[in-house]
């Protein structure tokens, strides 16, 4: 009996220690989760997290320089159906009027910090030299889809407009309002912005065809941006105007795009 007592004591001691350990781990876990959620709402902390994006974009541009090409695929790789996401049918009257006439009255505006603002009809754009590319669309959600795009390269359009020396970004203005418009002042139309490295890249085109057919409405008819080294939310659909700016700080939320104003990062290369 006496000999057993120390063992029993030790076992109780161990049980207590194990219980203590389990309790500590559970409490630490719960505290960590709550802490992470609180930090996600702390402005200074979120700014710290965002600082890594500068590092990511600098590192990406170092190893994949300005002219580096996105992978292009063969016809065999084209997905049977190209997935549509975001706006599938703009609700705006201006868009519907244009669509009813087969976009005959459509014009793409080129404006902002340029010497020569311009407007192009769809027929004019189709008459220009085109580029056809089979590329992979990578959505920020995680899925990918391969499709063949035909369109007019953006670089010659920008060159023709003669950007002013202080122009730094190309803002894409779109037809589709993201919420039901409540009035003139309530502009919720989709917009995006890219820098000149991407705007003048060889694979950056304004696409009017997908898989040998006119661009479907759900994929951005009549014209959408393809900027192949960036995520899907940069591939603005239903293009209305191209606007050159020095800074996007005073446009809407000031973050350079519809999803950027919702918290997504401006740099969309990862």
């Amino acid at each position: 009996m006496n000999a057993k007592r120390p063992i029993r004591l030790m076992r109780r001691h161990q049980r207590e220690r194990r219980g203590l350990l389990r309790g500590t781990v559970a409490a630490a876990g719960a505290a960590m989760l709550a802490g992470c959620d609180r930090l996600s709402h702390n402005e200074a902390f979120v700014e710290t997290l965002k600082s890594a994006q500068q590092l990511s974009s600098a590192a990406n541009k170092l190893v994949a320089p300005r002219a580096a090409m996105a992978q292009e695929f063969s016809r065999a790789d084209i997905a049977p159906a190209f997935r549509s996401n975001g706006t599938l049918m703009p609700m705006d009257d201006a868009y519907h009027r244009l669509r009813q006439d087969g976009f005959a009255d459509y014009q793409l505006q080129v404006r902002g910090l340029v010497e020569k603002p311009a407007a192009y009809t769809l027929a004019q754009l189709r008459d220009m030299p085109s580029r056809t590319q089979i590329t992979r669309h990578d959505c920020v959600e995680g899925w990918s889809c391969i499709g063949q795009w035909k369109g007019v390269p953006l670089a010659p359009l920008l060159d023709a407009a003669k950007p002013l020396a202080n122009a730094k970004f190309v803002v894409l203005r779109c037809f589709d309002s993201m919420t039901t418009p409540k009035g003139e002042a309530d502009d919720t139309s989709y917009y995006e912005s890219i820098d000149f490295d991407d705007a003048f890249h060889a694979q950056t085109i304004l696409a009017y065809e997908l898989n040998d057919k006119p661009l479907p409405v759900s994929n951005g008819a009549p014209l959408r941006l393809r900027v192949e080294r960036l995520l899907g939310y940069k591939q603005a659909k239903y293009l209305r105007a191209i606007e050159l700016v020095e800074s996007f700080a005073d446009i809407r939320g000031g973050n350079g795009g519809y999803w950027e104003d919702e918290g997504y990062t401006w740099y969309a290369g990862i």
Partner: protein, 280 residues
């Protein structure tokens, strides 16, 4: 029982982990935990995995989802032609006080609720912490000879691997001088993680970046394409989670406080063989 054995230590204290290894270990604990949990939040934005260059939406090899059944909404996990009801944990779980369709539940993700933009901020910040820490560790291990001295098993240890496997299955832990070295299974596990799983998780992660895909045309195909890379990233993360589970189990079996102390202060109480008579 095993705990009882391991808890019996001699008076000998042994300086087992040097400061850089301890610091880098704990940075790893924090960054890998946050990477895993923010990664699960990101996964939830499209809770299906595919093989190949793009998403074959009709045939994911793994899907977590929710659907309506006659008995109400249910969560499911579909994998390799089988389907499991995972209501409450996977596919359908309580989020913000109500039952919601979600891949992984709130308690497994950072941030808790579904918030892709924020999860990406966490993920890419701690990815840098993890990668910089990992590069420091590799350089330190080479320069300090930690790799050659402690991590690479000797020929004799490799030959005795059968004994080591048997000891592990019996939860028998080395004592005396043998406890001062990593055992051969430990060596192999660490080497597989350091030079297998960790590089794989990093490269598969990088393969998902459309800009990094442009570094060399087609390098992503070495991993089977972007969607295969996403799958491999997930599998490697699951492998790391599995490693961590075994690692923590072994820590508990070998003696939590002694092991924890050695990774915090560096000092380890060398356990003695309970069957051997101890000199008084």
């Amino acid at each position: 029982m095993a705990i009882g054995k391991a808890a019996r230590t001699s008076g000998e204290r042994f300086y087992r982990h040097r400061l850089p290894v301890r610091v880098m270990h704990w940075i790893n604990v924090v960054s890998l935990t946050l990477l895993l949990m923010s990664g699960l939040n990101i996964f939830n934005a499209h809770p299906s995995l595919y093989w190949g260059r793009d998403s074959t939406f009709a045939s994911p090899w793994l899907t977590i989802g929710a659907r309506d059944t006659p008995r109400g909404p249910a969560g499911f996990l579909r994998f390799a032609g089988h389907e499991w009801d995972t209501t409450g944990v996977l596919g359908l779980s309580t989020s913000g006080g109500e039952l919601r369709a979600r891949g992984f539940p709130d308690w497994a993700t950072v941030p808790g609720p579904q918030w892709l933009a924020m999860a990406r901020l966490w993920h890419f910040f701690f990815a840098w912490v993890f990668v910089i820490n990992g590069v420091c560790y590799i350089l330190y291990s080479l320069l300090s000879r930690h790799l050659v001295r402690d991590l690479l098993p000797t020929q004799a240890e490799l030959r005795a691997i059968g004994t080591s496997i048997k000891d592990h299955l019996l939860f028998k832990h080395p004592t005396g001088d043998a406890a001062k070295r990593y055992n051969v299974l430990q060596n192999l596990a660490y080497l597989v993680v350091i030079f297998g799983l960790l590089p794989l998780v990093v490269f598969a992660g990088m393969a998902m970046s459309p800009r990094l895909d442009a570094v060399f045309t087609g390098w992503v195909d070495l991993l089977g394409g972007r969607q295969s890379a996403r799958s491999l990233h997930f599998i490697a993360a699951a492998g790391l989670l599995g490693f961590t589970a075994i690692h923590l189990f072994e820590v508990i079996v070998a003696g939590v406080w002694n092991e924890l102390r050695s990774m915090i202060t560096g000092w380890y109480q060398v356990p003695t063989d309970p069957l051997k008579k101890e000199p008084q």
